[in-house]
Subunit: 186 residues, 2 copies
């Protein structure tokens, strides 16, 4: 056995989610999280840039999945449909950890600072999707708009999924159809 218990990072993530759920984000100190994980406050900040980031560690891999799915979508698909397909794939991945996602979302919904962090992660996803579209030859502002609209669709569908029990990829497709109906103008 090593000098330390393994997976310090994972223990910190678990301890943080548990404590944020029990007492709330603001009422939890980083020192308490670290203590529950058997570590010190200083070590927490070596693994996570700040107190919020511990809830968003998985965002990077989700973004990778989104981009690679979008990249492997045939160019024949319209940009907004290609994005929706990528979002549906990401949605399927999220759905595998429904209980975790729900618990995490409850914590985020209870705190404005965490919502801010979530919004900037979604904006980062949007930027990555727009970049990928541009590499496929989609010009701006169409690329940015398709990405932003896709993220909007995802947000709406995700919110429905948290409350209902329905299939997230399906909700994403339905939300996209709603958006198409809403924007079908003049």
């Amino acid at each position: 056995m090593g000098r330390w218990e393994p997976d310090a990072r994972g223990r910190l993530e678990q301890a943080a989610l548990a404590l944020y759920g029990e007492r709330g984000f603001e009422q939890t100190t980083v020192a308490e999280i670290a203590a529950r994980a058997g570590l010190t406050e200083r070590t927490f900040f070596r693994h996570f840039a700040d107190k919020r980031e511990v809830l968003f560690a998985g965002a990077g891999s989700l973004q990778d999945l989104l981009v690679s799915t979008l990249d492997s979508t045939p160019d024949s698909a319209a940009p907004i449909d290609a994005i929706a397909a990528a979002l549906a794939a990401a949605g399927a991945r999220l759905q595998e950890r429904r209980e975790y996602a729900r618990q995490r979302q409850t914590v985020i919904a209870a705190n404005a600072e965490l919502q801010e962090r979530e919004l900037i992660k979604l904006a980062s996803l949007s930027a990555a999707l727009a970049d990928t579209l541009r590499r496929r030859g989609v010009t701006d502002p169409a690329a940015s708009l398709a990405a932003e609209a896709g993220i909007a669709v995802f947000r709406i569908a995700f919110e429905l999924w948290i409350n209902d029990q329905r299939d997230l990829p399906q909700l994403i497709r339905e939300s996209l159809d709603e958006l198409k109906a809403v924007t079908a103008g003049e």
Copy 2:
């Protein structure tokens, strides 16, 4: 003359924007802002909830303008078009203080924390617009989607406006047309 110089809040806003522009947001302490305004740190926090909020004091009145404009739009207009009209009105107001808006946006663009705050303000705008649509009888998720899509249109148009010299309400209308083209599916 009163006991204190007038408009302490306004002086704090000016001092903060100037200092954030000169040295950057992180390199500026609240004590420095207060000193430049002839006040103390404690007084800063009586006027603004935190160090970021001093840049977002005008968000409330912009939201009021948006909502009242949307409220006075005839029900015959499609939801997305009513929202675009409200956004164009808000755009016209922003355009009256172009240089201020540009300076402020430069500061925000240079700092992730400020971008987070801006995103949650936009999300709040979106929620207010969706609420207003619901009061007009638009059902969800169409109301939320129209509001989110509208905010996406606004973001894209605003970014173009900062860089170009073109008319912001016009850019908003053009971005909406782009969105309609992008989402015109199958």
